[in-house]
Structures are given as C-alpha cells and as structure tokens.
C-alpha cells in the first residue's frame, strides 16, 4: 500500500461528512465560547479595580483600558518617592504632592501605602493638614478595612484638633464600626474630653467598657471614669 493512501485531496473537493462535522464543531465551540465569555465578563467586572474618576485624565483611562493600572500606579509611586527626596519638595512645601498622590491612587484606589505615606508627608513635613485628611478620607472610603489609615486620621485629628474640628465627625463614623480599633475610640474620647464634651466622651468609654474584654482597655476606662466620678458599673 502506498504511503499516500488515505490522504484526501487538499482543495477543490466537495465538502464531505467530515467537513460538515468539523464546521458544526467549530460553530458549537464558538457559540459556547461566546456564552462562557459573557459569564466571565460579568465576574471580571466585579473583580476589576474600580474605574478611575472622570477627573483622572486620559492617561489613567488608557492605562485602565490596557490593564496597566497597577503598574502605572507603581510608576507614580516611584515618582512620588523621588519627589519627596528632592530639594524641590522642601522648597515648595510639597506643593505637587497632593496631585501626585491623587494620580497614583486614582490608578489604584487600593494602594494603601500611597495614601498613608502621602498623608503623613503632607501632615508632618508640609503642614498641609486639610489635604492630608482629605487624602486619608478618600483612602478609607476605598479601603474600609485599612486600620492603618484610620489610625493616621485619628492621630491627625488629635494632633490638630483646634484646626480640624470637623474631622471628629469622621472619627465618630469610624468608631461606630464594630471592628473599630481601641486606639481610635480612645483618641475620639480624648478629643471629646479636650473639647469639653464629657457626655460624648462617656458614651465612648461606655462603648469600650461594654464591648472590650481586654483588661488594659477596661483599666483605661476605669481611670477615666474615676477622674470624672463616673461609675463604670452603671454602664
């Protein structure tokens, strides 16, 4: 038997059963892929980083369209770090830092370090507390579980209580969260105390007393209550 036996002509022949089956299989595969692709697209939309705001500019949109947002955010982060190490940062009192931090976090709203570092630099190095607090508030909105950002905001609020009274309102929302850390509630209670709003401070102490099993935290509440002749047993 010739080695060419069984080889079909390559062109010009009338399509046989095999060709029909192949065409049918191809059509079924394509239809199945389209159906499966629509399901995948729904889940991918849910998992993808949130879309950048309209103010983010064309660069962020292009980076988003080509799945380059995290890498572009890293590039923005490197530029931010370089700027903070530059003489211009000191001379300009960090004038460009809020915009750089915004550009980085618009690309990747989950980039906690960019919020924390940018806010800390704005607060302690540049004396720009409003911009620092705004950056942190945005970071907390995008990362509700980011304890560090809440700590930072609490610390800023406490450190700048006279200038940033409205930040106490933000702390109140954060402290109401069942998972709020003790230090955040403690800072809020101290802020009330410094403002002379003892009734509010007592509410926070009560909250800590009733929800915490930590002896150190309860001792702190007991000390505070003793100072103002409040009986924690009546909470």
């Amino acid at each position: 038997m010739s080695e060419y036996a069984g080889v079909r002509p390559v062109t010009g022949s009338f399509p046989g059963v095999g060709a029909f089956v192949a065409a049918l299989a191809t059509a079924i595969a394509l239809a199945s892929a389209i159906l499966l692709g629509s399901g995948i697209a729904i889940e991918a939309d849910r998992l993808r980083l949130p879309a950048p705001p309209k103010s983010a500019g064309l660069g962020a949109r292009v980076a988003g369209a080509f799945a380059l947002r995290r890498f572009s955010a890293d590039r923005g982060w490197i530029e931010t770090l370089q700027y903070c190490g530059d003489t211009a940062f000191v001379v300009e009192r960090g004038r460009r830092l809020p915009a750089m931090s915004d550009a980085t976090t618009n690309l990747d709203p989950r980039f906690e370090e960019a919020y924390a570092f940018g806010a800390a630099m704005l607060m302690w190095q540049c004396r720009r507390p409003e911009e620092a607090a705004a950056l942190l508030r945005r970071g907390i909105a995008h990362n509700p579980g980011a304890i560090r950002l809440k700590y930072y905001l609490a610390a800023f609020t406490y450190g700048r209580l006279k200038d940033l009274g409205r930040e106490v309102a933000v702390l109140e929302v954060l402290a109401r969260d069942p998972g709020a850390p003790f230090i955040l509630r403690r800072i809020l209670a101290n802020a009330y105390e410094r403002q002379g709003r003892l009734d509010r401070a007592v509410l926070v102490w009560r909250l800590i007393w009733l929800t915490s099993a930590n002896p150190d935290e309860r001792r702190w509440v007991a000390i505070k209550c003793a100072k103002y002749r409040v009986d924690p047993a009546k909470f």
Binding site: A29, G37, I40, A44, R48, D74
Partner: protein, 252 residues
C-alpha cells in the same frame, strides 16, 4: 509519529533556529531582572512593585510569543516558500493547521513556564511568602497564549503579507483589551447599522481584558480560572477550525 505532532516539532525547530525563542527568553529574563531592580526604588512596597512588573512582563511575553512566532512563520513559509516542502508530505491541511497551532502554543508555554519558575525561584530564594496571584496569572497567561496562537494561525492563513498579518494580530490584541468598552460604544452608536457591528466585534474578539487577573482586587476563585481555561480552549478550537477551512481553500 502523528502528523500534527511532527508539524509542531517542525514549527518549534524553525522558531528556535530563527532565534525567536532565544530572543523571547532573553526578554523574559530581562523583564524579571528589571522588575527586581525597580524594587530598589520603592522601599516599603518592594513586593508589590516586583510582582506588578514581573506579572506584566509575563503577560506581555504571553502575547508577544504567538504573535511574533506566527509572523516569523508567515515570512518563512509563505514569503520564502518553504511551505511547499512541508505540504508535499502525506498529511491533510487540517493536520498542518493543528500542528502549527500546537507548535506556537508550545513555544509560548515553554517561555511562560521558564519565567514563572524564575519568579517563583526568586521568591523562594529571597524568603518571601508565596504570592497568591502567581498561579492565577500563569493560568490566565496560558489561556492568552492558546487563544493568540490559534488567532495567529488564522490570521497568517487569511492574509497575504507578514506585515498585514502582524498588524491584524496587534489590532485583535488591542480590541481584546478594549472589549469591556465596546458595549458602551455600541450604546453610543448613532450611525444606522453600526450598533450590531460593534456588538458583533465585541462577541467575536477574544476578551483578553478578562485574562488580566493581576489587575483584580483579589485573586480570582478556582471556578473563574477553570472558566477562563474553558473559554480559551473553546475559542482556540473555533479559531483552529476556521483556520483549517481557510487554509483548505487557500491556493499556495
């Protein structure tokens, strides 16, 4: 040896001989080394910077290897007429198409495997904890390789010059990444008849943006990866089927 496997080996030999495999492998090592160097610039976020850059490099290699591979094959087979030497062998054109697909996919998988091992090795050597995105990124990149290897075959059989083929493939890659935007554009279409065309493009182009799992806020679950793999296999199967039909009708 089965004709498909023989053609796959032939394709791989051609690509190795043309130094494409060496070039892509070198690019992979350079990208991973570059990712490592970038970490020196980002104290405190070294891990994030490294993996973001390394994963991006792996994905780009996954895209480039089938695209460049099929372009080089088109130059050698169609424009330098080496295709005749293969087609005189006793095999059907469908076998040739399948073998070519297997060869292109094999090249991409080999390069991706090498890059993945280098990344995993670097993490292990540096004492870092395992990266939860490594496996999802590798699976997604494999899916992209499979899809683009099939598309590369289809495009090179359907076009007459390597430049056209390359441009068409790059266009498909761009459209694949822009696929989430296409329904929005279809909704904005005002020219009569444009809306169904945009929707048809949306359904027909591979949804490559869904494979960019490194951009997800959390690692995808196993079922998502399985769905991605299924989508890649089905899509590639359809593309190979159409390629076989196109090549059967093509007069070389």
């Amino acid at each position: 040896m089965r004709p498909d496997v023989a053609v796959a080996r032939y394709v791989l030999r051609l690509l190795f001989r043309g130094r494409l495999a060496l070039l892509l492998g070198g690019a992979g090592v350079a990208l991973i080394a570059g990712s490592f160097v970038l970490t020196w610039l980002t104290p405190g976020t070294e891990r994030r910077t490294f993996f973001d850059a390394a994963f991006l490099g792996m994905e780009w290699l996954a895209i480039l290897s089938p695209v460049l591979g099929s372009t080089i094959l088109q130059v050698q087979e169609f424009e330098q007429r080496t295709l005749w030497l293969v087609l005189v062998r006793p095999m059907s054109r469908a076998s040739f198409v399948r073998g070519r697909f297997l060869g292109l996919a094999g090249l991409g998988c080999g390069i991706l495997l090498a890059c993945g091992l280098v990344v995993a090795g670097l993490v292990a050597v540096s004492g870092g904890r395992p990266e939860p995105y490594l496996v999802p990124v590798a699976v997604a990149a494999l899916g992209e390789i499979v899809i683009l290897a099939a598309i590369g075959g289809l495009v090179t059989f359907a076009t007459t010059s390597y430049l056209t083929g390359l441009l068409v493939q790059l266009g498909i890659v761009v459209l694949g990444y822009l696929s989430p935007v296409l329904p929005y554009l279809a909704g904005k279409a005002v020219v009569p008849g444009l809306k169904p065309v945009v929707w048809a493009v949306y359904w027909l182009v591979p949804h490559l943006s869904d494979f960019a799992v490194r951009e997800f806020t959390e690692p995808p679950e196993t079922w998502y990866l399985a769905a991605l793999a299924g989508y890649a296999v089905l899509y590639a199967g359809a593309a190979v089927g159409v390629s076989a039909f196109v090549f059967r009708r093509r007069d070389v």
